[in-house]
Structure formats: C-alpha cells, structure tokens
Symmetry: C2
Subunit: 353 residues, 2 copies
C-alpha cells in the first residue's frame, strides 16, 4: 500500500478527489491484476478495482488491497455512478492513455475531469527491491536461454531458425511472455536497428545482432549481443565492435544519481562521433525497463528525464553501416548513488564463431 | 488504392480536408507498414506515411501508394508543418485512439481538429478476397498445429506443457506472431473463460478447453475446442457439451446479411437459457477477427453492429460451471448473402481421449 499512499499525496497536490487508472500496466502495478480488461479508481479513502465477468475469478486471486467490482453495463455510466457514491467531485485521469473518445463520453456524463500525466509512471520509474529481484530473474532467464542457443549459431543456419529457437528456449526457462519478437539480424540486415528475422542464411564474415529479452512475473529484461562469423576478413567488424563497446563503457561510467539522462546519451554519442561514425548511430542510447520493456527513463539526446537511484535502464549504443552491417551491445543497469551497477552478466568480448 | 478512395469520400462527407491515422493496425491496413511506430495522413489529394529513422529501410520495402517521410523532431510540431504544406485546414483524427494528451498538444499547435470514430474500422469490418485468403491460411495453420498436438493430450501432462507445445507448433507452421497466449484450461480451471495455463496435471474425467489462433501475413484466426479425458463418469460433461454445440449451431443458422448482431447472440443465449444454464454463459457469443483478433463486429447482447456480407467473426458460446468445469466451442464464419459459411474445419463431435 506504500505506492497508494504516495499517489494519495499527489491527489491532494493536484486538488482532485480521486484518480482513474486505465493504463493496464499501471493497473497491474497498483493492484496486481494481470488480465486484459479492468481499471482502478483511487480516492482519498477508497481503492476500487473494476473488471468484467470474465476476470471475476482471476481478480479474486490476484488483486490485493482493492475492493473489486464487476462491471456489467456501459463503462462511462458505471464510473459516473461510482464516483458519485464515493463523493469524488473532481477526478484525475491518465491523459496519455485515455482516448479522446472516452474523455468525451465522461464529459457527457458531467464528470469534472483533470488530466494527470504520468502519475503512476513517476512511481514505476523507481524500482523496489521486489521489482529489482524480478528484473534480475528476467535477465538470468534471458541469459540462460542465449547460452543454450550458442551451439546453434553457425554459418548455414538462418536468422529465423535462430530466433525461433531462442524464443522456445526463453519459454522453456519459464517466461510466460516475451517482451518483443527476438531480433536476429545478420550480414547487411544487421545494419537495420529493428530488423526482423528473415530466411537469410548466415554466412562467413557476417556480423549477427541478437536482441532479445526475458520475463519474470510480468517484469522484462532486454539485452543485445553481436557476434561475428569466422572464415573471412573481419577486421572492420572488429573495429566497429570495439568502438561500440568503448562507447558503451563511457555511457555506463557517466551514470550517477542526479545527472540528466542526456548526459549518459552524450557520453556514448560523443565517442562514436569522434571515431567518425556520428551519422551511423541514429537511435537513443537506452530506455527504462520494468513492467514495460520501453518505459521511463529515456536515455537519448531529447530526453527530459533525470537519473535517480534505483532506476533501471538499458545502455545500448550501436553503429550501423548501410549495406555492410551493424553492431549493437546492450546491457541493463541499475543506478546506485554514484555509479551504475551492470545487471547483465553475459561477456562482451568480441566473439568470433 | 480502393480503400483510400472510400476514405476520401468520407473526408468530403465529414467536411475535413484530411485524416490522421495513428492506430497501427489501421496504418498497416492502409499502407502495408508492419513496424511499431508511424502514422498516415490522407488528404483529398495526397497520402503520406511518416515513420522514424529505425524504420526507414523497412518502410521502403513495405509501404505502397504513400509518400514516406522520416520524422526527426517532435511529432505534433512536424505534423502541424506538414498539414500546412498540404493545405489542410481541418483535420480528422481517430478519437478512439488518439490520447487526450496528444490531442491537447495538437490543439496547442493551433490545428483545427475533428474527431472521426472508426473511419478505417468501418472499412476493415468487410473483408476483401485477399484478406479472406489470409484469414483462411491463418485458420489452416492453427488447425494443423492442433492436429499435431493431439497425440500429446493425455492424463498426466500439464496445461502449461500443452500450451507451450501448441505455441511451438504454431510457430513451426509459420505464424510470425500469435494472436494471444494459447489457453489450455482443464478440470475446474475450464470453468474460467479466460484461464491461463497452469502447472495443473491433466486428470481422468477432466474437460479441457483449448483456445488458440494462428497468423498469416498479419491476419489472425481464433478457435476453441473442448475435449474430455476418459476413465471416469463423464455423463455431465457430455450433456453440457451437446448443449453448447446445439447453441452454436443455432447461432450459426441465425446468421444472414442484414440482421443485427444481437440476433446471432440471442439465438445461442436463448437455447442455453432454455436448458437451464443462462447464468453460466456470461460472455458475448463472438467477435470479428482480422488484423486484430478482437474487432468489429461484436456479437453480444449489447452490440450495435449490423451483420453484412464478407464480415468474418467467431461464434463461441460456452457453459461454465464453477468448481466443475466448462465447455466452449468456437468457429470462425464468413457471412454470405443469406447464411454463414463456417471457415473452421476441425471436427466438433464430443471427443474423449
């Protein structure tokens, strides 16, 4: 109930009597509910979770600290009634999640509304020891799966086969979902930061980018490793690999509680630019990971986020040379007082297979 | 380009000069883009697709009939500029998708906006021959996967093992994604319409509900079969099975172009009620399936949808007896002039294993 208490303080500051939580990850964070339909209403004194018939049984098992109500009619109408019963005069809502259409239906019910951006996200950005434990377990699952995949990585197989195999291994490790379809991008395809696996056959001299993640109790992990296939001259592959690795090291070193996220991004970006590849690193340096695989803080040149203790995010610079290939190396870190602790344990030496 | 032409007619009717398409499935439907960030802007004369750096290469391969633009700044600001260049005075937007927060940022840019609900969804609800072909292929993949699973269904295995195996088989059939985590619910768990697989061991006398779907080129299928495990008296299991099957038959028979979706729902519901199980069928009878696994038309007692030719939806009544178990049988149908054509081909006799 500690987070609910912080949220209630916000209600006072924002001069609203309650907040409607509709973003399902925020609902899960607060209530424990893992289903796909439901919302929470937190007032200064009450905490209600609302779902429908299908999730009656499940919510009974999962939801703690909230009174559960089963909705049977039209959502806006039932919400209006409940808000009146609870004595809420002004209701905050998640304006980054509520659609304009639903907002209008609420207005038609004569609800007094106030948009509150990121009220729950600002709590989620700081991870509790329980959450850190889940994230660590999600990392371990992803690492074990990758280790088991390694014997299959060789010239002659395809991106798709490797991706499928890695997804199966993740499931075998116990991941109920995976954060995103595993990326295996080889040869010229590895120059596409978000390539999806194709039937391309792995060849000698290829760079292969693996970008994947695991899950534990709803929490995700996210990591990237790039390997090279032997049998051809791979001097250039090695060269860009070590530039990316050094850029990553500099970004990790830059982390400290109290700095701006842009400073972490700049540390990696500046080095890559100095090495003449400024044009070939088009994405941000990292992003928060938790119940969502992309969440605050965002570590890029346009981020407004501040870095604080117990935030968890990725550090993943890359260099992408069109038509040739790319390298990306991604670890997850947790912020300590004056440094980053790297959570990802897989080795980062230039691996030639 | 036919759908773009219909959409342009709507622009005229709605007195707007363009429409902003942000829902990613709608974007995919119109442009062919399968990535996870981008939007489309369709004016009376132009069609522009906008994405970011990461999808430059991919959009080049996928997007047809649209001019592609790579965004590099803040979305609302760039959109404002583009809208001005294209001479759009009033812009329609998807109010069921655009968040209240983004709406406000667009207003701050002094854009004149008009909410348009379901402009693209009203096109998507009617399937083209190409889409029907994809859906049929998605069904065949799901059926082949289930047939391959059948030898593994027996007492002693667990729900989770069966679900994992079925997911692997779906991937092996070529499904790049699956519409939802495979449901395997056995014994008392089968009384939960949306149960997720657990480590529960399959026992003699169990009902087992399998609810799963396949994919082909972005289009989904969705089906449910319920089997019983021999070795105990299963008279009651058989009894409710045949009530559900007959309810399903009646709903399928009720389908005809021009009727209300509520009439299809009522056909199944009335029969289940007559048989004394009205309380044990709490969900709707079906839903449309296409690029989304749940889309229009919705076949329930509160639906406002009309049934028309070439709509595709599920018919999936169920009876759920708390503590005992449940039966659900789900087929997909396509609407012909005066009847439903059942697309799902798996047999529906009461299968005892």
């Amino acid at each position: 109930m500690r987070v609910t208490a912080i949220l209630r303080k916000k209600l006072q500051q924002q001069k609203v009597d309650g907040i409607l939580i509709t973003d399902l990850l925020n609902v899960r964070y607060l209530t424990g509910f893992t289903g796909s339909s439901g919302y929470a209403l937190i007032t200064r004194k009450q905490a209600v979770f609302v779902t429908d018939f299908r999730y009656q049984e499940q919510s009974r098992q999962e939801v703690k600290g909230f009174r559960t109500k089963i909705e049977c009619g039209e959502r806006a109408g039932e919400l209006k009634e409940m808000v009146e019963v609870l004595g809420v005069k002004k209701l905050g809502f998640e304006d980054h999640h509520v659609t304009f259409g639903f907002y209008k239906r609420l207005l038609q019910k004569k609800l007094r509304l106030k948009p509150l951006t990121g009220a729950v996200e600002s709590l989620r950005i700081i991870k509790s020891p329980f959450e850190l434990d889940c994230i660590n377990r999600a990392i371990r699952r992803a690492e074990r799966a990758f280790r088991k995949l390694q014997p299959s990585i060789k010239a002659g197989t395809t991106e798709r086969k490797l991706a499928l195999k890695l997804e199966e291994l993740l499931k075998e490790e116990g991941c109920k979902t995976i954060p995103f379809g595993v990326i295996v991008a080889s040869g010229f395809m590895s120059a596409l930061p978000h390539a999806r696996p194709t039937n391309r056959v792995i060849k000698k001299g290829d760079l292969i980018v693996f970008d994947w993640g695991g899950e534990y109790d709803g929490y995700y992990s996210d990591m990237t490793r790039t390997v090279a296939v032997s049998g051809k001259d791979i001097a250039k592959q090695r060269e860009i690999y070590y530039i990316v690795l050094e850029a990553q090291r500099k970004a990790i070193e830059a982390v400290s509680a109290g700095i701006k996220a842009t400073e972490v991004d700049a540390a990696a970006r500046k080095y890559i630019k100095q090495q003449g590849h400024g044009e070939n690193f088009g994405h941000g340096t990292g992003h928060g990971v938790g119940l969502a695989v992309h969440e605050k803080p965002y570590v890029s040149w346009r981020s407004k986020d501040l870095i604080n203790e117990n935030m968890v995010f990725t550090i993943e610079p890359g260099i992408y040379l069109p038509g040739f290939g790319g390298v990306r190396i991604e670890d997850m870190v947790v912020v300590k007082k004056d440094r980053a602790e790297v959570l990802t344990g897989l080795p980062k030496n230039f691996k030639i297979i």
